[in-house]
Amino acid sequence: MYKFVIKRILFLIPTILGVTLIIYAVMNITPGNPGQAILGTGVSQEDIDAYNEKLGYNDPFLQKYVRYVKNMIFDQDFGISYVTKQDAFTEILPRYLITLKLAFLGVFLSAIIGIPLGIKAAVEQYKLWDTIPSIIAFLLAAVPAFVLGLVMLFVFCGWLNVLPSYGIGSFKHYIMPALAIAIPPAAQNFRFTKSSMLESIRQDYVRTARAKGVPEKQVIWKHVLKNALLPVITQVGLSLGTLICGAVVAEEMFSIPGVGSLIVERINYKDEPVIIAGTILIAICFTLVMLIVDVAYAYVDPRIRAKYTKSRK
């Protein structure tokens, strides 16, 4: 099993390098140069060229890329922000952590809301516990996070005045944005869990379990759930992607100083180091979550585990 985990971790390296290459290349082919961006418009062309030369901007692309990756890995040096003239990494890190907190809180909420309701709906198919959540989920899955956020702002801040409407400080600040981004994926998790459970319930091995005399509750918890949760694990992992995107919207709406709003803001100034660094950090987080999903998958499903371990003596 640990062999599989190590293999999977090693596989992360080319993935992350690939991601950095793509991001770096895309930013490079867009027009503009750092000399211009840093020195501003009131400077002569010679000064700009000299500055670019000093930064190594005119070097061949591959050379620049290798140097960038080297600095990134060995010195956590992602370059200097064009706008604030500060180290990009130190500027991003605190905001990155806020976004991660928000996104993971969202994943957590969407899982604990969606999955149990999905299980309940599948077990009580066509009854009240199925129809009502299904209708609500159907509606909510179609509502974008920003609409939910606005409605919540109106209700909790404008109307009831119980939650702070902007900024991030206490736990209270996280409630609304986390809920706003968690609800659409929660609705998706609900629908996914329900259909996966229903599919699993109809399997022959469930009938076999019943024929053994296993009580219905145990049939669901032991035989159906473990099989049904496999695809749900992937779905929850993937929803992190949606949630990071959702977090960007939520950050804008609730004025949260996260990495998403930072990137959006800096795109206007073409602040390359910050944009690249922010994107890479998000990508690394996403690949790590996918790693966890894969390991969890192998942990639950012996068929996948078997691909990586020798069991026959």
């Binding site: 076999t208 053994k212 639950v300 026959r312």
Partner: protein, 347 residues
């Protein structure tokens, strides 16, 4: 682990020596959806004597599996409905029992071997765990070691090395999986074993092995059996009594001798025999029964086999045939109905 303990736990199911172990009377089962009603089983009567094997024969869709699932009350909850009838197990009507009692019966007194071993085992648990589950459920007093010993014993019984109990179903071949399913079904020494086409999904050489094993275990444990199959060869090898099922009705029943040796037969049974290849006679082609089974959502008013019957008469399309009885042999057909029409008749 003996029979004695078991009847102590469930005294109400103590059988009476000489009385049949399973008696199905006028069972009607439908599958109901908003769109249509499928009449799967239409008033069948079936009796299995203690220690004997009853073969239920018929083509796909005849209602054989539905009958078996009704005995364990495992019909699909949303659609399956038992409209009427009685299923007496050791004299008790299982259709009137509550769910807890049913759970005590399932796997303990009546257990089932399913058609497709590929999907009958849960892929995420080891085979040992799946066998142990049944043992633990019905014998809560056993210690862990005793349960494990029993699992080893069962695996040995079905010809699998006990060391393989920590493996998962995907590491077993089809035949081995079916052995595991059989071990699971027999681990609590049930009084009645329902084998639902246990060899259909296996290839021929494995079929013979598994069948021989089922027969041997049945004889050793003294289990009564309901053998569901479409293979008359299996019936000849294993069964004491036979029922031929067609479109939800038992069209002919009797002892194995009645079915294989008697002169009079339902035309459907004749058709079944004609579609078996015969090595001794020089026929170049098999004689299949022409046509298809009637639509179970729209069964004909007269004899259900009339459409495909070579000796179909006018009355066959008008009236449901009565039962012609000759000793233990019963045929439900107008060809023979006349002599004993009054006592018979499909109820």
């Amino acid at each position: 682990m003996s029979k004695h303990d078991k009847t102590m736990k469930t005294p109400e199911f103590q059988g009476v020596e000489g009385a049949p172990i399973l008696d199905i009377r006028n069972l009607r089962v439908v599958y109901q959806t908003d769109l249509e009603t499928v009449e799967a089983v239409n008033g069948i009567d079936l009796t299995i004597e203690r220690g004997k094997t009853f073969g239920l024969v018929g083509e796909t869709g005849a209602g054989k599996t539905t009958t078996a699932l009704s005995v364990l009350r495992l019909l699909p909850a949303n659609t399956g409905r038992i409209l009427s009838g009685e299923i007496l197990f050791n004299g008790k009507n299982v259709l009137e029992l509550d769910e807890t009692l049913m759970q005590a019966i399932r796997g303990n007194l009546v257990s089932m071997v399913f058609q497709d071993p590929m999907s009958a085992l849960n892929p995420v648990y080891t085979v040992g765990e799946q066998i142990a589950e049944a043992i633990r459920l019905h014998n809560p007093d056993l210690t862990k070691e005793q349960v494990e010993d029993r699992v080893d014993e069962m695996l040995k019984l079905v010809g699998i090395m006990p060391s393989r109990k920590t493996e998962y179903p995907h590491q077993f071949s089809g035949g081995m999986k079916q052995r595991v399913v059989i071990a699971m079904a027999l681990c609590c020494e049930p009084e009645l074993l329902i084998a639902d086409e246990p060899t259909t999904a296996l290839d021929v050489t494995i079929q013979a092995q598994v069948l021989a094993m089922i027969r041997e275990l049945r004889d050793r444990l003294g289990t009564s059996m309901l053998m569901i199959t479409h293979d008359l060869g299996i019936v000849a090898q294993t069964c004491d009594a036979v029922g031929v099922m067609y479109a939800g009705e038992i069209v002919e029943s009797g002892t194995a001798e009645d079915i294989f040796l008697a002169e009079k037969h339902h035309p459907y049974t004749v058709g079944l025999f004609d579609s078996i290849p015969n090595l001794s006679s020089r026929t170049s082609r098999l004689k299949p029964i022409p046509g298809l089974m009637p639509d179970p959502t729209d069964l004909p008013k007269g004899c259900v086999f009339a459409e495909r019957c070579a000796s179909c008469m006018e009355i066959c399309r008008q009236e449901h045939p009565g039962v012609y009885t000759e000793g233990t042999h019963k045929i439900c057909c107008h060809l023979f109905a006349a002599p004993s029409e009054k006592e018979g008749g499909a109820k």
